[in-house]
Amino acid sequence: MKSPNKQQQIQKTTKSKVTGDNIFKILTTIIATSALIILLITGYTLVKGSIPVVQNFGVNFFFGQQWNPVEGREIYGILPYILGTLTTSGVALLIGVPLSLGIAIFLVEMAPKSLRVPISYIIELLAAVPSVIYGLWGLRVLRGWMVTYIETPLSKYLGWIPIFSGNPQGLDIFTAGVILAIMIIPTIASLSKEVLTAVPNSIREGAYSIGATKWEVTKRWVLSYGKSGIFAAIILGLGRAIGETMAVTMLIGNATGPSAMPTSLFQSGQTMASLIANGFTEATAGSLKYSTYLGVGLTLLIMSLVINVGAHLIMTRVFKVKGGAIEQ
């Protein structure tokens, strides 16, 4: 009598446990897949919405420069904004990466602890500043500095180089790039700092023991060991620069049509993100203009995905990284 009862009990408890586990498993699976589902829904919305404009203009949508929203004579080409996005992000990386690496190297290799902790904290705090604040500061302060101290002298003395030509107003691709650089510094610097901190001390000691100077240790050993991590940090920064909207919209001058082609750093431009932010609310649902903005959104999304996937491939193929560590 006793033993079957016990068995039953055991069966019962194991059974209920299994069911609980199953529910838990199903629940977490749903939650985990919801991320993918959201991406798919977003992609679907963008693809579906941008079909009209692509049908209308074909490849000229991507490679055209004209922008005319007047009904009946509508023509939309987004090449200037694709290039604008790439140019501002490029400027941001050119300025932001060396500064970020300098900060990271200083914090990890040079700074005494009394400086390291507060500076690291402040840099991470910079990432928490809302982008509209950067935009405001850019409008009120940075724009003036750029015109007076950088753009005017550059165009005066190096104006014969096409990218420095034009009459600097401060609301241009260069200013937008600089504000982006400032905005991606916290990301790249704090991630690179983590990467450099993770470089084993035994490597530094080994390098010092064969007569390397501090600079050589940093350049040939520490950075070399951390290069894949630093690359990942730069890609994350690039991701932020490509998608950043508010501050760029406030500073880039928001040109449209052929004049938005980034031929000079000192002229007004437009990025894909700022274009959408500027016009999307004015477009009526279902109109060609509406479809255009969704098409721009799709292009931006694809660009971000390609960069991320490409970066991942480079990391696994070139640096042979798996799970964030150098294979040994």
Binding site: P200, S202, I203, S209, I210, W221
Partner: protein, 280 residues
Amino acid sequence: MTTTTTTITQEEQNNKHVTNDQTQQEIDQTAKMQAINVNVWFGQKHVLKSVNLTVKPNTVTAIIGPSGCGKSTFLRCFNRMHELAPNAKMTGKILLDCEDIYERKIDPVQIRRRVGMVFQKPNPFPTMSIYDNVAAGLKLTGTKNGKHLDDIVKRSLEQATLWDEVHEDLKKPGTSISGGQQQRLCIARAIALQPEVILMDEPCSALDPIATAKIEKLIIELKRNYAVVIVTHNMQQASRISDYTAFMYMGELIEFGETRQLFENPKVKLTENYITGAFG
């Protein structure tokens, strides 16, 4: 001081001071390296207390003592590696060929090229090939790739008794070989610079007995060309390979002498207690 009095009597204290005084306060012209009155602090902590030691050329000098006695710190003073610790402070002199390596005009980088070092845990450079691990130090001084560098790499690996095992894999990463091989690679890396002295900080403590035996054999070979200073907490190892042994305890050098004499007939009771396993 107060901490040691519990284990040694007053007489032995005096005895110890005698030994300390005997290990020259003045410059020994025959020494390759000589530590005179070395004191080291980490922050407020006084980790080395007036240590004197002489390293003769073409000998192996072992430094033994319990964990935390300051032997590794002392070793690092010999190539100014302890300066990498941000709060380290040092007084005293360390002479290399009768010249103080702590003099203002002297560049620690130059000292480290003359006084090589091998660490406790094998630390070949993971981003470099076996070849580049050995060549790294020479490349820093501007030696270009080519026959000359190939020769030095080969000779260094041969001296480190590693050439036969890796000569076909020179392009593989330095971390792709076994722990014992890695440690010999680190020795090859140190001797590629043709230093005058090689410091070894418990070089076998992360290795198995067979790898240890190979390194020990190698160390005895090395003294033909170099002076070797080895820190070890393995007393058998010290007695097997060294010519001179220093016993350190609580930041002080308790006894220093010929290995045989120190192990068979220690002058200080504390040394005897340590080598007979009474504490440690």
